[in-house]
């Protein structure tokens, strides 16, 4: 089964929004996670990534110079921070979906705008973008709830989704080509 193709239009829409002129806002694009430590006890797999600007620059220094990693370096250039929490559980019902309500509350304020929401049975994924006021960095947030997985992603900064698309097929990133564009040629 070939991987599903990511819609090009919302990608463009996100890219446009992330580069759009600002409106005055006081809140930042940095989300505050609720206390999720209790989930680790139930989880069979947990990922906790917290990378500020300094660590991102350090990481960039350890990326190679080939085309794929150069792309990642370019992607990181305008990112201020990356925060990810991800949990996988052995079976459904081991976490309370209300645990992400504080995150949704933050995403309902300030310059956050929900771009995409997709529900599939008990699985629900939402993508938000931040339109910054003073020309400062934008942001991206993903809240994904599945019966056996919970994922929260918050990226602060200008995210170049075109470059993110170029990662497809490399570094383990699934292929996400838009339907109307030729696939990027491997270099």
């Amino acid at each position: 089964m070939t991987p599903p193709l990511f819609r090009f239009v919302p990608v463009l829409a996100v890219a446009a929004l992330l580069a759009a002129p600002p409106t005055a806002q006081a809140q930042t694009a940095k989300l505050v996670w609720p206390n999720l430590n209790g989930l680790s006890k139930q989880a069979t797999e947990a990922v906790d990534v917290t990378l500020d600007r300094a660590l991102l620059q350090l990481a960039a220094g350890f990326l190679g110079d080939d085309a794929e990693q150069a792309n990642v370096k370019a992607l990181l250039r305008d990112i201020e921070s990356i925060n990810v929490r991800h949990f996988a559980f052995k079976s459904a019902g081991l976490y309370d979906p209300a645990i992400v309500d504080p995150v949704r509350a933050q995403l309902g304020k300030g310059a956050w705008q929900r771009l995409i929401a997709a529900k599939d049975g008990d699985a629900n994924t939402e993508v938000y973008a931040w339109r910054d006021a003073g020309g400062g960095p934008g942001g991206l947030a993903v809240v994904s709830l599945e019966p056996t997985e919970l994922t929260l992603i918050n990226i602060v900064g200008k995210i170049d989704l075109a470059r993110l698309r170029q990662l497809e097929g490399h570094l383990g990133v699934p292929k996400v080509s838009p339907p109307d564009e030729p696939r990027p040629r491997p270099e």
Binding site: E68, K90, D120
Partner: protein, 189 residues
């Protein structure tokens, strides 16, 4: 550096042979030859890159101490599978919290096979990780290393029937969960 004399028709001595002779750089070559097997096994069993790296390093350190007892390439392969599996099972059993700050999946090779679906692969890896340590190890040895149940039994010091039972039940669970996770009808093949 001392080199074994070789004729034009015989292949150069394998890294194992050179390492057993204590030739400089030979052990490094041996590690490079076998690192994918050891690390790959550890990662598929633990789904944690930092832990897998630690286990893989420990396995090679132990190999260095045990080189004198390794008799052949086949013995080496069996030894590596066995030690890696047992170490990984121990680590998996003692892990209380899965919270880690590292990769949950290793980077794929740069070129992705066109007939492999990364989403399916990712889902299946996650599902395998939900199995208890012993059945998980049986599945990984079967599908990463293509071992038959009898060989898996030797690696894990387990009766063959137990291996077969683990495999049968684990595959049934994986098929059912894969069916749910990937939105398919239950896979029967």
């Amino acid at each position: 550096m001392a080199r074994a004399a070789v004729s034009a028709t015989s292949p150069p001595p394998a890294a194992l042979e050179r390492a057993r002779r204590g030739e400089p750089d030979a052990f490094g070559d041996l590690v490079r030859e076998r690192q994918r097997l050891v690390f790959g096994l550890a990662l598929n069993l633990l789904r944690d890159r930092a832990l897998a790296e630690e286990v893989a390093q420990e396995v090679f350190l132990q190999l260095h101490r045990s080189l004198g007892g390794i008799e052949s390439e086949a013995h080496l392969t069996h030894w590596l599978r066995r030690v890696t599996s047992h170490r990984a099972i121990d680590v998996a059993r003692h892990r209380r919290h899965a919270e880690v700050s590292g990769l949950d999946e290793a980077p794929e090779p740069w070129v992705v096979r066109r007939d492999a679906d990364p989403l399916v692969c990712r889902t299946l890896r996650r599902l395998v990780a939900t199995l208890p340590p012993c059945p998980r190890t049986v599945v990984v040895l079967r599908f990463q290393e293509d071992l038959e149940p009898a060989e898996i039994a030797r690696v894990l010091d387990m009766p063959v029937n137990t291996v077969k039972s683990h495999l049968r039940r684990a595959l049934a669970v994986l098929r059912a969960r894969a069916g749910q996770a990937l939105g398919r009808a239950e896979v029967t093949s």
